[in-house]
Amino acid sequence: MIDRAKSRPADALASATAYQTLFGITLGGIALVKAALADQGPTADKRIALAKFFAEQIAPESGGLEKIVKDAASALSTIDSVLFA
């Protein structure tokens, strides 16, 4: 994305929101794991369950987002045929 922002800015803008969501999910998932590892108290089990749930039911969305970030652009150039038909 860093390369693309410099060399093909229009493509970068096309997938900027997908990138931003991917960033949030990745950082958020890491944070829950960090919290689970750090908690030695009575809420430890709760934090492990939350990190596991995030890993199973939310983190996998990042695969799809990553694909959007990498590929978005080709279809965008043809969008006018829909919006200005």
Binding site: F23, G24, F53
Partner: protein, 461 residues
């Protein structure tokens, strides 16, 4: 519809994602002896006991407009007064200006609970703290002497005036005019729209921070200056003087945050509102950015805070509502819906996303604190870049999930969620604006990919 501030959980996450490290590295020695825990517990009590009960009446009655005056919902003035008298408004402001000089992260964690209690109520203080930051960083000594202490104490509130009918995301398109008067002051003329807490009855004076353009200013965003425009002019001795030439022309009728007045402001109907320059001429956006970055994180936190409140409400409903029989249930008769796999999934989505967004917001605040407090120039720059990188993510992702979590909260309630009496609907209506104001989430994404990720690799570490 009751809400209990989760101060133990918030304390854990605030310490883990920044406060402990700031303390052990000697960057926040004031936190020794459990000060953070004590403050968070007290803040949580105020949220639960005093602010949370205002949320509903703020929604149903809301702020009212009559002939230039705005009346806030019943009970709001008294609770605000007690909150300000508790010293809560000045947590992060410098000790020199009557504040307590505590870390931004600690303030954010307190705001998390107050905002869950009532997002509309906390918008005024949020904008006031932005005004304090901008004034402290860029204001002249004279302006600071007259205005800062009263803003820090909460006796006066601040506002942020960027938006005009033709200038929203594109701030550079604004047209409000500022003319030099020759005595060092300026006359401001123009119309601002959507100004949060632009007029109200909660404080005796309102300090507007207004972006405007000088007659000889360059086109676009390089020709914008920032002015302080008080509702009432202030005499040399600090007492209130004449009414300034600024008025509220009306309130918007809107989807949510009904308790927060969203005002059309008219500057200079008569001879021009008297304004005082903050920072340098034509460098106003620079000064406003101080305010906007903090406000962006504050808006991100609104997503977290609404998520928390929506989760608590949905959880308690799911334990009470009985319907069908869950697989493998041992109990007689119909099951509480919390036993159904799909309800459990939704509750976990709500909890996990809210906690993840909370962690991201806290990390961002920790980077801001480090940027302020680090002595080593290299480390300071690294922290500044990290804060800059994380701010758009904290703003956008947290507000996106805030909306999603509030929507899930409605889904868990079934038909009842669509009925206003359940309270679940208000959370979605309130959460919706957070993805729009302070730079839409689409604008945040542009900022992230075109400016932030290219900053430096150090920001990622």
């Amino acid at each position: 519809m009751s809400f209990t501030a989760p101060f133990a959980d918030i304390t854990f996450l605030a310490k883990l994602f920044g406060l402990d490290q700031l303390e052990t590295e000697g960057l926040a020695p004031e936190l020794a002896d459990g000060l953070a825990e004590a403050i968070l517990e007290e803040a949580g009590k105020f949220a639960t006991d005093r602010i949370a009960p205002l949320n509903r009446i703020g929604d149903t009655i809301g702020a009212r407009f009559d002939n230039g005056h705005v009346t806030t919902a019943p009970g709001w003035i008294e609770t605000y007064r007690d909150w300000a008298q508790g010293g809560w408004n000045g947590l992060t402001a410098s000790v020199d200006h009557g504040g307590q000089g505590l870390p931004h992260l600690l303030h954010l964690a307190c705001s998390d609970m107050w905002t869950s209690a009532s997002m509309a109520f906390m918008l005024g203080p949020m904008l006031t703290s932005g005004a304090i930051d901008a004034l402290a960083a860029h204001g002249s000594d004279e302006l600071k002497r007259i205005y800062l202490a009263k803003l820090v104490s909460g006796e006066w509130m601040g506002t942020m005036n960027l938006t005009e009918p033709q200038a929203g995301s594109d701030v550079g398109a604004l047209k409000t005019r500022a003319e030099r008067t020759g005595d060092g002051t300026y006359r401001i003329t123009g119309q601002k729209i959507y100004i949060t807490y632009g007029e109200h009855d909660m404080t005796e004076n309102i300090i507007h921070l207004v972006l405007a353009r000088l007659p000889d200013a360059p086109q676009g965003s390089r020709g914008i200056s920032l002015f302080l425009v008080p509702k009432f002019l202030v005499n040399k001795d600090g007492s209130l003087g004449a009414r300034n030439d600024v008025r509220c022309a009306g309130l918007e009728s809107k989807l949510g945050i009904h308790g927060s007045p969203t005002c059309t402001m008219i500057y200079g109907d008569e001879s021009g509102a008297i304004g005082y320059l903050i920072g340098e001429e034509n460098r106003g956006l620079n000064a406003m950015f101080t305010m906007m970055n903090a406000a962006r994180l504050g808006v991100g936190l609104q997503g977290v805070a609404i998520g928390e409140r929506a989760y608590q409400l949905a959880l308690s409903y799911a334990k009470e509502r009985k319907q069908g029989r869950a697989l493998n249930t041992k109990s007689e008769g119909s099951s509480a819906i919390i036993e159904h796999a799909d309800i459990r999934r939704m509750l976990m989505l709500m909890r996990a996303k809210t906690d993840a967004a909370r962690a991201i917001c806290y990390m961002t605040a920790a980077a801001i604190d480090r940027a302020h407090r680090e002595k080593d120039a290299q480390k300071k720059k690294q922290a500044e870049e990290r804060a800059a990188l994380l701010t758009p993510v904290a703003k956008s992702w947290s507000t996106d999930i805030g909306i999603e979590v509030a929507s899930l909260g409605i889904q868990i309630h079934g038909g009842m969620g669509f009925i206003e009496a359940s309270g679940a609907a208000q959370h979605l209506r309130d959460a919706r604006i957070a993805a729009i104001y302070e730079g839409t989430n689409g604008i945040q994404a542009i900022d992230l990919v075109t400016r932030k990720i290219t900053l430096s690799d150090q920001a990622f570490s």
